[in-house]
Symmetry: C3
Subunit: 269 residues, 3 copies
């Protein structure tokens, strides 16, 4: 991908110092995660469980995935961060989610909401809105999900307003990722189209955001999570022969990601 | 696989024109699917969800996988086709399946039944038989499943009779796949033994049949789905070093499959 | 891994004859499994289902995975062995487990318990203890899980005592695996750190132990299952570029494992 590589140098050189700093801090967060092996409890959809666990392991975190309501409190209490993904929202998950959130809040642990497909399911949208009252640190979603959840177009201004209103960080993902906590805003342009050809890529990325949210402020955590996964996707695309080999190469790239690669590839403004 | 390659040229040269035409139409269907990105809602077993979603994405379709009864109608209503797979048939799926079928019928969308392991579970066989009253477009199963469902041996004649009686297409898969809508019949000999060494390969293939059934008649859809997956399996086997690398190579091959490869490899009569 | 390779030759040469014999017997068991294609019914967690099924297929066994209580008896009755893994213990699995165990016992089939994360969940620990009354042939767990279950430190002596008290084989896995039926004890030192970077590796390995338990005594079955997976992990590590490619390479290695590789690599005492 010579075209992408030549594009890379410029925005990075032109980027303001705090954003260069964000890339370096992201690399250091990953380094720390590998040492501290933070625990993330993920209540996530059936199609995302395996890839979420493997992405967390590749990044150095320790996943747990239980969804049954009478076990979730014990797991959430031991975790450093919680991920709530609203996919395949069966009766078990629906009963477990409020308890998991309550435990995370009682223990002053951050939690991250992934309101997957709320645009397609009215009952799920209701649950997503109720979940917001539980004060997530980060909401990660795509443009159509944001529009359903916020009742506003997916612009920087409405993302800022939503973030301020709810006291959280919005991570709006797409070809270009937009992250804002209301005051700060960042754009991440790393990534590769093959990432959209793998089920649960966004869901699993959000789990890394949750891991980082246990280590640093939500805005930096969300930016670092999206940046590192985007860079791992670019590296993977260079050897992949399609979506099958891409998925394995992505986990390999994340597992081996170092500061030099992050600093050299980050396209963040 | 030089032996297989040399076998390929002959039946293809000898194949009747309409069957050559089926291979070309299959390649064109795949081309169209990549552009139209048809939505398939799959109520499928826990072991098949990820591979089904990744196969649909690799083929250009858009998967959704929700199984909860109060969400399924919204997802099924937005989908172009529905897949009902009877594996890991828990209480959620059992409650969701009739609603999903009702929504698909009300919207005049095709749906495809995969009665996995009905030969091993009497309650599942009952549900499969009840599901037939919901008029699936295609039933895809192996010989022992067909025998349990149809109460007849897995021959072309009983498949024809079953197809006529129920007004559907039977896709009977095995080393050689047999497809019939009662009037027409086709045999697909593409495929590779490693396909049987990957869990959910048949389940995921059926999801591609469902995607095609939203674009063309059920007989052509079933033949095209099995043919293209069989060819992708053959291509994958040429680089795979075992079932692990085969699975990734299969998705890569399906993602990159073009008309020349389909026309050159199809063994369909 | 030249260091590991040079370590390999010595313990093997120094190993007592019965232990060399165990490696050879393990290779022969695998050979037999590929011919006899034993059926294993696995009630296992959502994150482990796919990898468990693919590992069993790669080893030559035939998996089934249904968890619904009214279907499990039919599946368990047809299986040669049963695996009960206590992860993602939802209401379906909780209701299904006692029936599955009852069917296995009535049919005189062995069953294997994997009490995953019982150290983290008091209700799960209760279920694990109740399950022990159903006389599993093997309990496979790590040190912290053993300590929670046995109420004793994870030493050879307490493993022996627990094995004798419950009339079963304990397989205590970690960097070094310890297997004992109370009378005999073996240590397996094969394996690779990347095995801990893949979710469900331990769960899936236990399914192979279950397959072997249908063919031979529980102590030999457990030792053989852990040995062969450890060796497959070592072979996979030689070509893997990280945890993503490792997982595929592991399945490939298990699929192709032969007696020469097992005899040459076994580090068992």
């Amino acid at each position: 991908m010579p075209a992408e590589e030549s594009e890379m140098a410029e925005p990075q050189a032109a980027a303001p110092a705090p954003m260069d700093d964000l890339a370096i801090r992201a690399a250091h967060l990953l380094q720390r995660l590998r040492v501290e092996r933070r625990r993330v409890h993920a209540i996530t959809n059936g199609a995302a469980q395996v890839f979420t666990a493997n992405l967390l392991l590749a990044a150095g975190a320790t996943p747990s995935l239980t969804t049954s309501p009478d076990e979730v409190p014990a797991f959430a209490a031991r975790a450093d961060a919680l991920l709530i993904n609203l996919g395949t929202l069966d009766a078990e998950r629906r009963a477990a989610i409020p308890w998991a959130i309550a435990v995370a809040r009682a223990a002053h642990r951050p939690w991250v909401l992934d309101p997957v497909f709320v645009d397609l399911s009215p009952p799920r949208l209701d649950i997503a809105r109720l979940s917001l009252t539980g004060c997530p640190s980060v909401v990660r979603c795509n443009a159509t999900e944001f529009e359903a959840l916020a009742g506003a177009s997916a612009s920087l201004e409405s993302a800022r307003a939503f973030a301020r209103d709810h006291g959280l960080t919005v991570a709006l993902t797409g070809a270009r990722d937009l992250i804002t906590d209301g005051d700060h805003a960042a754009t991440v342009e790393n990534g590769h189209p093959l990432m959209a050809q793998i089920t649960a890529m966004g869901c699993a990325t959000t789990a890394l955001v949750a891991a980082f949210a246990s280590m640093i402020d939500a805005f930096t955590a969300a930016t670092a999570g999206l940046l590192l996964c985007g860079i791992a996707g670019e590296i993977a695309s260079e050897t992949a022969r399609g979506p099958g080999t891409f998925q394995a190469a992505f986990l390999d790239a994340l597992f081996s990601l170092d500061e030099a690669a992050v600093a050299g590839r980050a396209r963040i403004t």
